[in-house]
Amino acid sequence: MRYLPLTPADRSSMLETIGASSVDELFCDVPEAARLTGPIEGLPMHASEMAVERHLSALAAKNLNAGSAPFFLGAGAYRHHVPASVDHLIQRGEFLTAYTPYQPEIAQGTLQVLFEFQTQVAALFGTDIANASMYDGSTACWEAILMAARVTRKGKSVLSGGLHPHYGEVVRTMAKFTRDDIVSLAPELTAEADDAAVIAAIDDGTASVVVQYPDILGRIPDLAAIAEAAHAKGALLIAVVTEPVALGLLEAPGHLGADIVVGEGQSLGVGLQFGGPYLGLFGCREKFVRQMPGRLCGETVDAEGKRGFVLTLSTREQHIRREKATSNICTNSGLCALAFSIHMSLLGGEGLSQLAAINHDRAQALVARLTQIPGVSALSEAYFNEVTLVLSRDAREVVRDLADRGVLGGVSLGRLFPELDGLHKGLLVTATETVTDADIETFATELAAVLEGVAA
């Protein structure tokens, strides 16, 4: 077996050293009834590299990958071009096959990357500090709500109607068990109405207000106004960013009064990967640092006075504090943080702004073309790279029909909000820098045909 270096001779000689007559003897603590004698039945035996590659390649070929079709999906996962050097560098064995940096003298590579990553995320979010990553945006969102409850010593959280419904579902699931009080608002058709509903729901018992920016329908909420209303009642504003590229163009939530900013970092460096692994981003005000979840990398010096980095403030964490920890998180998304950080380093702040402007440009071109189709209109004028189109019929069917025609034409609001009948004609479409004019033209042609009921 190609991954197992012990030879039969090695095994015999090692058993002799151990003083056991067989490997079975080493499993003597396992009760007789639970011991399996041979390989588990009904499962295949070992396979060559070529055979495994053949099997998995056949499965991969059954999927329509985004690069093989005009592609317009977003809703919390975005297709951006990732420079080739990113994937090359994260496959350096010293990064790929390292553990969490508990031995800092021989993990300065990972630690320095995390320190740079934290600085990049804080700059992007406009927060004082950021942590070394969470699992993904949705879990980071729940952790932010818990953190706000610790900071304010209150238990209620208001979720704006523009929050990604899957994020809302994660929060409601968790809150059911922790008995935190969650007020979930349904989306209104304009950002202004959603903002007003959020502000109206804040009271003295509110610990946090959760607002997605840009929101799930592609609109841009007025964070400054919501922050002011939240702070007036002693609540914290948690901004959720599912498309970090937007912050190349839009003001950073931290600069608009958000106290905690969380997000999904998948857009930069990580790729679509059918939903995971992704990258939870978490930034906040410095004064909350001891209430933060997750790992933090900090600067220090070594015994010779050289600058170095270590994991710090671990007294917040599960391996020290056990049931009193700020979170149970252990393994996070280290390698995805590295990919994000490399992509961000290649772009730089100016490059990110340019990328954002190009995304916005593509989305404008998409909207301009699709709204020429009779029965298609855009929900909002202010959007970044994603916008909700209102169609003349149920968008769930339209998405399936478009797929039959080889177009991956967005995400239907019916899939995202199955319980809200009023939204079922909504189609969320996204255009990143990867979308070409030809893609837009194909989409428009096929969408028009689908809406007219022309057979494929």
Binding site: T97, F274, G276, S327, T331, S345
Partner: protein, 522 residues
């Protein structure tokens, strides 16, 4: 310093060597030992590593009031600068690719590169989680095939695939237990956790809203069954047991523990972090387990990546299976694999306790784990467990005459060998041995865990170490023990040869510096 690194023990780069003093270099670098500044200090203003097809046209006036006043203040690097920066940084890291990484409980085994290649096939890597289901049938089949293997290997009824890592899987299992208790109309709020447990166990129980009560260990390093039974009652929701446990021992009373917990109306959560010791040889389902997470990044070798991503699918018994969270992948009567979400949960998943993540879990890790499993097959996986256990026992028996093995007399260990610093001279500790190992070119073992053993050293070689490799490691460990016995003070200042000497963690925590600031350097 007899017996110490006869090839040339040099406490610093500046000491005299053969009468000629070694010069300090102008750059501060030493040949292949290269220092690297932060990206903010490279002086790369105005560079970029990304070229765009065409500049953007005007930004819509509708966005004017939302515009960012200044671009994020982070530098850009040209591609050569970036490649060099990260390559130089990588060389300050230890990884499995460089040598043994015997972190007990963490399972640092070889990461096959085929798995990386498979996860990068565009059909897996370039697929959106919300694409129409008929365009992602292959991806769903990967999830389903992996799920099948996990169910069969554990002898359980079902598996929830979406948890993102081990601790997230623990949470999933406990929430299934909570949901099952709710369905029974019971409010049991205590979870029993052995004192030898991973820190995530009590943290997770608290995170899920339970009170944690600790069960002591026996002098033989096992769960104290009598103490556990004494705590069982109508308030106990369940227990969290790690098996094999964190002392590296199988819990022979596991079935008795499970029976007692079930009789008292509770559920059994098993921390599956150490499943690699028994995979293919023992099915947790045969031991009365109700829920167990499987760290794909441990047993099934998906890379740890310097701290993740992991993946923590949770296998479930019949009793808990109905409560598994959405989304869920299942093969329908039509023979196709379907994704069950809120939109189409139907009767079959009406009792799902909710959702734990935005999408479907760690697909990239599923592909890697499936490639690993298919490569090994049922026979290879059994061999994995056997070789892991053989290697650990070989280390145990090769070191127990020079280091105290607190449970060495209890019989064979499983996949990891536990030692302590109890027998070392006054002032010589586990930390000294660990840092000395760094100078020897090895990654240290897990230190000061489990907490039930003072000065613990937990060594998990894994099955991917060769015998000659283990012999080299053992020789270094014996040498370090010898140096400690001779009270070699240079151990206290180890490592001497790593990119950094011991780091001041107190200073880091006292006034945390978590981000780079331009003015701080002035």
């Amino acid at each position: 310093m007899s017996g110490v690194n006869t090839a040339g023990w040099r406490p610093s780069m500046n000491s005299a060597e053969g009468g000629v003093s070694v010069p300090e270099t102008q750059s501060g670098d030493h040949a292949l030992m290269l220092e690297e500044p932060l990206i903010f200090e490279l002086g790369c203003e105005g560079q970029t590593g990304v070229d765009f097809d065409a500049p953007a046209k005007a930004v819509s006036p509708a966005l004017a009031k939302f515009r960012r006043k200044a671009a994020p203040a982070v530098p850009g690097l040209s591609e050569p600068e970036a490649v060099r920066h990260y390559t130089r940084l990588s060389r300050q890291n230890y990884g499995i690719d460089l040598g043994p990484f015997p972190l007990g409980s963490c399972t640092m085994k070889h990461n096959p590169r085929l798995n990386e290649k498979m996860a990068r096939l565009p059909g897996f890597a370039d697929v959106h989680p919300l694409q129409p289901q008929k365009t992602v049938e292959g991806a769903l089949e990967v999830i389903e095939q992996l799920a099948d293997w996990l169910i069969t290997l554990t002898g359980m009824a079902s598996v929830a695939m979406s948890p993102k890592a081990g601790a997230h899987g623990e949470l999933c299992g406990l929430l299934c237990i909570r949901a099952a208790l709710d369905a029974r109309g019971e409010t049991r709020d205590v979870v029993l956790v052995p004192e030898s447990a991973h820190g995530t166990n009590p943290a997770t129980a608290a995170f899920a809203g339970f009170k944690v009560e600790t069960i002591p260990a026996t002098p033989e390093g096992r769960v104290d069954l009598a103490a556990l039974k004494a705590k069982l009652g109508p308030d106990v929701a369940g227990v969290m047991i790690t098996n094999p446990n964190t002392c590296g021992l199988f819990e022979p009373e596991m079935k008795a523990i499970a029976d007692a917990v079930h009789a008292a109306g509770g559920y059994v959560y098993c921390d599956g972090a150490n499943f690699n010791a028994i995979v293919g040889r023992v099915r947790p389902g045969d031991l009365g387990v109700d829920a167990m997470h499987i760290n794909l990044h441990k047993t099934f070798s998906t890379p740890h990546g310097g701290g993740g991503p992991g993946a923590g699918p949770v296998v479930l018994s019949e009793a808990l299976a109905p409560y598994a969270p959405l989304p869920f992948v299942a093969r329908g009567e039509d023979g196709h694999v379907h994704l069950v979400e809120e939109e189409n949960r139907g009767e079959g998943h009406a009792r799902a306790f909710g959702r734990m993540v935005a999408f479907h879990g760690q697909m990239g890790m599923f592909t890697r784990a499936l490639a690993y499993i298919l490569s090994h097959g049922a026979d290879g996986l059994k061999q994995v467990a056997e070789d892991a256990v053989l290697n650990a026992n070989y280390v145990l028996r090769s070191l127990e005459d020079v280091l105290q093995a607190p449970f060495g007399k209890s019989g064979p260990c499983m996949h990891e060998a536990l030692f302590s610093d109890a027998g070392l001279p006054e002032g010589f500790t586990t930390l000294d041995i660990a840092k000395g190992l760094i100078d020897e070119g090895f990654h240290p073992m897990t230190v000061y865990f489990p907490l039930v053993v003072k000065g613990a050293m937990l060594i998990e070689p894994t099955e991917t170490e060769s015998k000659p490799g283990l012999d080299r490691f053992i020789a270094s460990m014996r040498n370090l023990a010898q140096r400690a016995r001779e009270e070699d003070a240079s151990l206290h200042s180890a490592p001497h040869f790593a990119p950094r000497r011991r780091l001041d963690e107190t200073r880091a925590a006292r006034k945390p510096v978590l981000v780079w600031k331009a003015d701080a350097r002035a």
